[in-house]
Symmetry: D2
C-alpha cells in the first residue's frame, strides 16, 4: 500500500461547491494535494473535470482521507470492484464496513454497477441475490455480504438545481422572520406539482395538530387525495378520535378552549371504546367514528403507521408497540414517496428523516426554531424549514390548495 492516490471528479464542481469541499477536506485532515488537471466548464450548462493527486502521511492516513472524499463523489480512475465481507453473526459487522450516505449510491459488483436500494443515511450495504440493499444493523444476518471499504462504491451527491423553483427559494436558512403567508402558497404549488406528476406525499404529524385545530384541514387534505401516507403515534390518533366522539382533545373543548368537567375521562373512554370495538378500522366500519384524520385515512384507503412510545396510554390496537417493527414498516411504506410534510413532531420527524434518501423533498413546520433547525440540518438540498404555528399553517395550506385547484 502506498500513501498517494490519483482521483477524478466530474460535474458542476464549482458552483455546486463540490470541488472547494474536496480541497478543504484534504487540508482539514492534514493531507496534501496537487492538481494535475482542471478543466472548468466555460458556460453554466458545462460540467467541469478535475484530476488531483492526494497525499497522506502514511497509507492509513490516506485511507481516512479517501473515505471522506468518497462521499463527495471521488472516482478512482480505473474502476475497481467493490469489496465485501461476510457478517460474522446476526447484527454484527465485519471490520471496515462501509457506512452509507443518503445520496444515490452505486456499487461495482462483478463488473456491473448496481444501484443501492432504499438508500438512507448511516446504514450498510448488503449484497443479496445479486442486488445491493441498504440495511440497518439489526437487519444484518450472519453471512450477509457486507460492503467494506470505499473501493468500487460511487456516490452521486446532489447538485444544486440551477433552475430556480418555488420550492428551492425557500431552502436553507431557518428564521421566524419570514413571509410565511407566501410560503404557504409556495408549498401548496409544490404539492400540486407533485400530485399532478403522479407523485406521492407522506405526512408525519404530532398530536399538536389536534390540539391546535389543524385537524380538520389535515383530514380534508386526506379526503381530497393530497396525502398518500400518514406516519404518527398513538397520541395523534387518540386525540383525533376523542374530538370526534366527545368534541374535546385531552378534555379541552376545542371551540371554547375551556376544559370540560370530567373531560380527562374522555381520553380513557376513547381508548376503551376503540379497543372494545376492535380497533380504529372497525370503529369506522361500525359507524361509531364519523370524521377526522383517522376516519379519512380509512375511508380513503390512505395507509397509516402508528408507532408506539413510552408516553402512550392504551395504546389503540393499531399501534405498533415494538419500535423496531414499527421502524421497518415505516421504511417499507416510504418507498416511492416524493415529499414528506413534517408537522410538529420532533421524534417522528427525525426518525423518518433518517430513513429518507436525499432526493425526497421534506418540509418541516414547527413553532420551535430549534426543532426545525435540527430537522433540516441533514445535508439535503431539498429540505425546507418553516418556523410557524401549525394550527394556523395547515388550515391556510388547505384553503390555498383548494383555491389553486379551481
Amino acid at each position: 500500500m502506498e500513501n498517494v492516490k490519483e482521483l477524478e471528479f466530474e460535474g458542476h464542481l464549482i458552483d455546486s461547491m463540490i470541488f472547494p469541499k474536496v480541497l478543504d477536506t484534504i487540508l482539514d485532515l492534514d493531507g496534501e494535494f496537487e492538481i494535475l488537471e482542471f478543466r472548468i466548464g466555460k458556460k453554466k450548462t458545462d460540467t467541469s473535470y478535475a484530476r488531483i493527486m492526494v497525499m497522506g502521511k502514511d497509507p492509513g492516513h490516506l485511507q481516512r482521507i479517501l473515505q471522506e472524499l468518497h462521499k463527495l463523489g471521488a472516482k478512482i480512475p480505473d474502476a475497481e470492484e467493490v469489496e465485501v465481507a461476510p457478517a460474522p453473526d446476526d447484527k454484527v459487522l465485519p471490520e471496515n464496513f462501509y457506512v452509507t450516505t443518503n445520496h444515490p449510491t452505486y456499487i461495482n459488483y462483478r463488473g456491473k454497477w448496481l444501484e443501492v436500494e432504499d438508500i438512507s443515511m448511516d446504514r450498510l450495504i448488503a449484497v443479496r441475490n445479486g442486488r445491493a440493499e441498504c440495511v440497518a444493523i439489526d437487519e444484518v444476518k450472519k453471512g450477509d455480504l457486507i460492503v467494506v471499504g470505499e473501493k468500487g462504491v460511487r456516490v452521486i451527491p446532489p447538485e444544486r438545481p440551477r433552475q430556480y423553483s418555488h420550492f428551492q427559494f425557500m431552502g436553507g436558512t431557518v428564521s421566524s422572520e419570514r413571509p410565511n403567508e407566501e410560503l404557504v402558497e409556495a408549498v401548496a404549488r409544490e404539492i400540486l406539482a407533485i400530485k399532478s406528476n403522479g407523485g406521492k406525499i407522506a405526512v408525519v404529524a404530532g398530536p399538536a395538530v389536534d390540539h391546535t385545530g389543524a385537524r380538520d384541514a389535515l383530514a380534508g387534505m386526506i379526503r381530497d387525495g393530497y396525502i398518500d401516507l400518514l406516519l404518527s403515534g398513538n397520541a395523534l390518533a387518540v386525540h383525533d378520535i376523542e374530538i370526534s366522539l366527545f368534541g374535546t382533545s385531552l378534555g379541552m373543548n376545542l371551540e371554547t378552549g375551556k376544559p370540560v368537567p370530567g373531560g380527562n375521562r374522555h381520553h380513557l373512554r376513547t381508548i376503551s371504546k376503540i379497543i372494545s370495538l376492535g380497533g380504529i378500522r372497525k370503529a369506522v366500519e361500525s359507524g361509531v367514528l364519523k370524521d377526522g384524520i383517522m376516519y379519512e385515512c380509512i375511508k380513503n384507503n390512505v395507509p397509516f403507521i402508528l408507532a408506539g412510545s413510552i408516553r402512550d396510554d392504551g395504546p389503540l390496537p393499531e399501534v405498533i408497540t415494538d419500535v423496531i417493527v414499527a421502524k421497518k414498516e415505516i421504511k417499507k411504506a416510504l418507498r416511492g414517496i416524493n415529499m414528506v410534510l413534517m408537522l410538529s413532531t420532533m421524534l417522528h420527524s427525525i426518525a423518518v428523516g433518517n430513513l429518507l434518501p436525499s432526493t425526497v423533498k421534506t418540509i418541516c413546520v414547527d413553532i420551535n426554531p430549534a426543532t426545525v433547525t435540527k430537522l433540516i440540518d441533514r445535508g439535503t438540498a431539498q429540505a425546507i424549514g418553516i418556523v410557524t404555528d401549525v394550527g394556523l399553517f395547515v388550515p391556510l395550506l388547505y384553503e390555498k390548495l383548494r383555491s389553486l385547484r379551481e
Copy 2:
C-alpha cells in the same frame, strides 16, 4: 411603636384568592396572625369581611409585613392620613418613599380620598396642587411632596371577573399547543366589543410585522378604525416604507422571499428619501408614500410614537431619539387606552407594559414562548399571551374582524 396591628379586608376575599394570599404573606415573612372575625359571603354575589391581628417580631418587622399586606388591599380600620415628605433634590427621593403597584390606588390626603392619576407599577406618588400623580423618578422635582410609608394609601387589587367572558377564558397560561384559530375569533370579538363601547386600542408592533407580511392587515385595521395609537420604533417604519417604495423589506422581495440584487441599498435609500422630504407626514402629503402602516396612521389621524434605539439606521425625522422623552410621550399617549395589542416586540412591549395600569387589557402575540411569558407575567388578570406566528395571526385577525362586522 408597637409590633401588633389590626387590619380589615373586604371584598371577594375567598374566590379572588386575596385572603389566602394575605395569610400566606404573613407566614412567608415569619409573622404571626390571629383571625378576629371572619364573615364569609354565603352566595356568589356576597362579599366577605375579615378582621385579623398581625404580629411582627418588632416594629420594623411588622412594618415590612404591613407593606406587603397593603398591596393586597389591607385597610387600617381607623382611616389615617397619608404621610408625605419633600424630595430633597430633583430625581432624589425621601426616605421610606412609597412604591406604587399598577392597581387603582387612592390616598387619604387632608381628609379626602384622592385617586392617583396615571397609576403604573414601581413609581412614586407626588401630591401636586391637591392632586395625586403617579410619577417616575426622573419626573420628581426638588420639593415635590412624595408619599412615604403605607399609611393612608388604599390599593384596590383587581377581583377576578365572575362573569365568564371570551376574553377571560384565554387568560393565564402560555402554551404553543392551544387552538389559536379559535383565539383569533375571541380576540376579534373583544376588539369589536371595546370599539362598540367607544373604547380605545393601542398597538405595539415590532419590525417582524413587516417581514412576515402582517403589514397589509395591520394597515387595514388602522384604515378601518380599529386602532387608536401605534407605538413602535424606527425599524418598523423604515421597512414599512421600503415595502411601499421598493416592494422589499431589508432588500428581500416579500412576494418571492428572494433577496433583490442591490436590495440592501433600498433600506438606506428609503431613509434618505424620507429625510429629504422632511419626514413621513410630508412623504404622504407629497404623494410619495402611498400605502402601508405609516401611511394609514397619517391618513386616518392615528397618532404614532416611534422611539429610538441604538440599532437604528437614520433614523427617520419622526423618531424620538431621546428615550426619556420618548417614554414620557408614550405614557401621555396611553391615557384612556383600554386595550393594548403587543405584536412581536419584547423591548417595546415591556416598556409599554410598565406604563399601564392593571385595568388595561393586554394581548401579547409572539412566536417565542419566553417573550410571551415575560410579557404577561406582570400580575394582571387581564393579560393574554398567544404563542403564534404574527405573520399568520394578524391577517386572520383582520379577516375575522371584517367578517364579524358584516
Copy 3:
C-alpha cells in the same frame, strides 16, 4: 337522586388554596353553594373546617360538579362504600369509571379504607385480592373490579409545606434569569438530605448528557452512590459507550469538538461490538467497556432501563423495544423512589412524570424553557424547573456534592 349535596372539607383550607379552589370550581361549572359552617384555624398550625351545600341544576349537573370537588378532597359526611363494576373485557372499562389523580388516594371498601397502591395520574383503580391497585388501561383484565363514580374515594391533595426549605424556595416559576449557580448548591443539599435519610434517587437522562460533557460527572455520581436508578434510551447508552471505546460521541471528538474522519462509523462499530459481546453487562465483564455511565451502573449494581424509540440504531441488547413492556418495567422500578432528576430529555421525562405520585420530588434541567415548563406543569408542589445547560450544570452539581460531603 337529587340535585343538592352536603360536603365537608378539612385541613389547611385557606393557605393551601384549597377552599378558594372549591368555591371557584362550583361557580365555574355554573353551580350554586351555601356555606353552612366555616371554622377557620386561628393560628398557622390550626386546620380549618368547612361544611357547604352544593346545588346543581339537575342530578347529572351536580354529579359533574362533585367529580371535580372530589379531587380537591371533598368528603361526603357519612362515609359511603366505594362502588365497583367488572371490566367487560381485557382493556375495556365499565361505564363511569373513576380516573385517578397523582395524589395519595384511599377507597372505602367493605368498611375498610384501603390505600391505592402505585398511585399515578389518569389511571384506574382495580380491587384485586382485597387490595386497591392503580392500573393503566392496558393492565385491565376482563372481570377486574374497577372503581366507578367518586363515592367512597378519598383524595389527599398535597398541602404546601409551611416550613421553608431549600427545595421549596425554588419551586414554581421557570425562568432563565435566575441565579442557577445558587440552585446547584440547593439541589446538592437536597440530594444529600434524601440520601442521608436512606432515600432513593432516579435519573432520567437524554443523550445530550453525553454530547455536552456531563457524562463524566453523572458517571461519578453513580459511582459515589447518589443514584439508585437510571432511566434512559438506546442513544444515551450508545454514545456513552462510543466515548469509552473511541473517544468520540456520534463521531465528534469531545475534547476538541472536531469531527473525527470516519467518526460516524464509530457509532455503528459501538453497536456491533456490544451486540457481538452479548450486551453491555458482558462488555463490562469482559473488560472491553471500562468507564462511563453504563459502566458505573453495572459495576455499582445500579439498575437501568433503556426504553426503545423509533429513532434507535441497533439497538443494544439491553434495550426494551416494546414500549408497553418498557413502561411497565419503569413503573415497577420507580417504587420507593423519592426524587427524580430529569436531564435534557422531554420524551422520557414526560413518560416518567406520568408514572409518579405527587409526593415524589422532581427536578427538571433543560436548556429549552418550553421543555421545562411542560415538565413541571403537572400539578405537583414538588417540582423544580431549571433552565440551564446540563453540560455545565451536572459537573458543577457533582463538584458541589463532593465538597459538601467533606
Copy 4:
C-alpha cells in the same frame, strides 16, 4: 455603456469558497459568464487567479451583477478612479451611493488607494480632507463627497484561515448539544492570546449577567485586566449597584433566590442614591459603592458606555439617553478592539455587531439559540455562538483564565 465586462479575481479562490460564490452570483442574477483564464494554486500555500467575462442582458442588468461581484473582491483589470458625488443635504444621499460591507475596503482616489476608516456594514464612504471615512447616514453633511457606484472600490473579503486554531474550530454552527465545558477553555485561551499580543477586548453585557450570578466573575475579569471596554445599558448598572448596596437584584436575594420584603423599593433607592451622589463615579469615590462590575470599571479605568432604552428607570446620570449620541460614542470606543464578548443581550449585541469590521472576533453567549443564530449570522468568519447559561459560563471562564495564567 455596454453589457459585458472583464473581471479579475486573485487569492485562495477555491478553498475560501470565493470563486464558487462568484459564479453562483452571476447565475442567480440571470447573468452569463465565460471563464477566460483560470490558474489554480497547485499547493495549499499557492493563490489562484481567474479572469472572467460577465454578460448582462443590458447595461443596467450588468451593473447590478457587478455590484454584487464587487463585494466578493472583483477587480476591474485597469484600475479606475472612484466616483464621488456631493450629498445634496444633511443626511440625504446622492443617487447610486455605494453601500459598504464590513470587510476591509480601499478606494482609488486621485491615483492613491485609501483605506476606508472605521469600516462597518451598510454605511457610506465619505471622502473628507483626503481621507476615506465610513459614515452612517446621519453623519452625512451637505456637500460631503460620497462614493457612488462600485468603480474604484476594492473589497478584501476575509479568507478562511488555513491554520487550524482553537478559536476557529468553534466557528460556524450553533447548537445546544455541544461540549460547552471544552469551549470555555478555548475561549479562555483565545482571550489570553489576544491580551498577550497587546490586543483589546470589549464586553457587551445584558442585565441577566447580574440576575444569574455571573456578576462577580465579570467584575473579576475587569479587575484582572482582561476587559478594555464595557458596553451596556442602565439596567445592568442599576442591578449591579443594587447588589452592592442591598444584596438584591430587582429585589431578589441572590443567595437565597427569595424575594426580600420591600425589595422592589431597592431598585428605586439605588437609582435615587446614585443620582443624589452625582453618578456612579462619585459613588465609588465617596466610598458608597464598594464592589461589582461598575466599581471595577471605575477603579481600573476601564471605559464604559451605558446606552439608554425606553425600558429604563431613572436612568443613572452616566446613561446616554440620546441613542444617536450613544451609537456614535460606541463606534468611537470600538476602534482598536480585537475581540467582543457578547453576554445575554440581543439589542446591544446587534447594535455593536453592526458597528464592527469583519476582522474583529466576536463570541456570543446566550441561552436562547435564536439570539445566538441572529448574532453570528452576519457574514463573518470570526464569530462564535455558544448556546449556554451565562450564569454558569462566565464564572467557569474566569476560573479557567486564572488557572491557565498560573
